[in-house]
Assembly symmetry: C2
Homo-oligomer: 324 residues x 2
Amino acid sequence: MATIKEVAREAGVSVGTVSMVLNHADYGSAAIRAKVEAAVAKMHYVPSEIGRNLSLQRTQMVGIIVPTVAHPFFAELVEGLEESLFHLGYKTMLCCTQKKENAEHTFVTMLKRRTMDGIIMGAHSLDVSLYENLNRPVLAFDRYLSDNIPIVHCDHQLGGQLAAEAFLQHDCHHIVQIAGAQIVRTPAHGYHQACNEVMQAHGAQTDLVSLPWNEFSFAGALQLAREIFTRYPDVDGILGADMSIAACLQVAGERGIRVPEALRLVAYDGTFMTQTGSQPLTAVRQPIEELAELAAAKMVHMITGEQDTLPWVLPPHLLPGRTC
Amino acid sequence: MATIKEVAREAGVSVGTVSMVLNHADYGSAAIRAKVEAAVAKMHYVPSEIGRNLSLQRTQMVGIIVPTVAHPFFAELVEGLEESLFHLGYKTMLCCTQKKENAEHTFVTMLKRRTMDGIIMGAHSLDVSLYENLNRPVLAFDRYLSDNIPIVHCDHQLGGQLAAEAFLQHDCHHIVQIAGAQIVRTPAHGYHQACNEVMQAHGAQTDLVSLPWNEFSFAGALQLAREIFTRYPDVDGILGADMSIAACLQVAGERGIRVPEALRLVAYDGTFMTQTGSQPLTAVRQPIEELAELAAAKMVHMITGEQDTLPWVLPPHLLPGRTC
DNA sequence: GTGAAAGCGCTAACAC
DNA sequence: GTGTTAGCGCTTTCAC
């Protein structure tokens, strides 16, 4: 592999000149530039990012930590982040923590090792202390990590209200909400609370059931759905993440409960999986792509030290379907 | 940020000693090791990966190129690759090409720039020439790139036969197959051909319709499903990717066609989305996780120059459901 | 406008 | 067994 030195020799100029010609469009006389370019072409020279990284002390790489990417919400999130980061000139390093013992720790170490310039954290971290006096760019996505770590998220308050209104429009009296693990510190718990408040103000009964920590599988959702129908036979409305609601719809089908007539279902997140079943799910849609774009922009600003006036919170909206 | 030099000064030893103590568990006397470790702790020293990369001439990073990760098949693939690579000591750089103009070109350039040690290519490349005399580790996943680029894939021949047998068991006479774009050179076309042969040998009519290039959305699938029902009113069996079959089931529902009684559907791939609808799809399941593990191992062997006797092809199997 | 040279942080071969 | 040192490939400041 040709190095910049060889190119310099071939072109009959110095190493510095080659570097300047390559990195600054306005550097050097036409003659010199031509010589350098000819040498580059002849030697099939491609600059080494590794050398560049050392010299510049950065990698132009951002790490993304999510529990899994084999889940529609995180898949859409990662997709959006990668795209936005790409357009901002950054590469994306992916880390899925769900199946790995302390992968999160490993990745935070990589940040310290300057493998990447910053991290966007979207996993359900329990060991928040990892982030405490980490003096490098970290942005949290929809979870609280530490006082000095900024956080981008959806307006879950509003999300919960939208769901409640949908239920109330159809006279629901007994709502069950399926939440993530309560130990996880995330603003997302807010939508259950908001929905709760609105429903109770209207005299409805509400119950909350929780999934285990780091449970995102359909199998897990199915199991919990079965429990709900058994435990709350008179439930007439369920709110939960897409996966959970899809499971409820399937179980309702098995038990001959008609949706939406006898049971109203509202999915929270509104990923593509709300659309792909034979009965599209009514959903509160988080603007995942926009949130990702926002997070990517914030991350880059943290790395470069720029200020911005972008918001930290984006509103969700109701996505019509055939389950409520 | 402390550097190795400062640690050496603090410990009263040389830079080389620090490096050796840190990288080789069996180096140095207990006394020296203790001194170094104390200095490391005191200075909060974390070695820079950037310096290491330059010295070692590698980044321990593998690039994964897929069209999108917001699609169950690629999501499961990426998840599996990332996990396997992680356990093999490699980081994963993600690149989604679908929404970006020549992102693929950019990523192949990054490989040349030694940003990563190798690439696993799972996108539907059209410009195969990119890979032609690229002298670096590239592994293709389920697509033909170039004569000297190895390829890991599922036994689609067998997959097609499994599907055909399922149709024949229920006396299907007119099968429509939904394929990806025909310009893409992939072994996956093989399952349509295999299914075709078996069906025709049994006197069934078969038709093939194709999705546009790089079309992986549910909306696209839905549109094609509608066309199929209109164009082939007597169709009694459809084979296609999960997303396409889910769309067919939805459209069948709209038109009052009973599945599986009047129409048999077999999904190819068998990702989790075949399970999440209210009527689980019968599917030919590609062993995505195992394929990913295999591809990751092969990739690492290409990077390190090791030989292996692992297979290049893995068999699919039939996943029971309620659509065939 | 161009070349020389220092330096980015680390590893490992080679002296001692 | 430990220290010295020559790179790894690049960028950029500073003389000329």
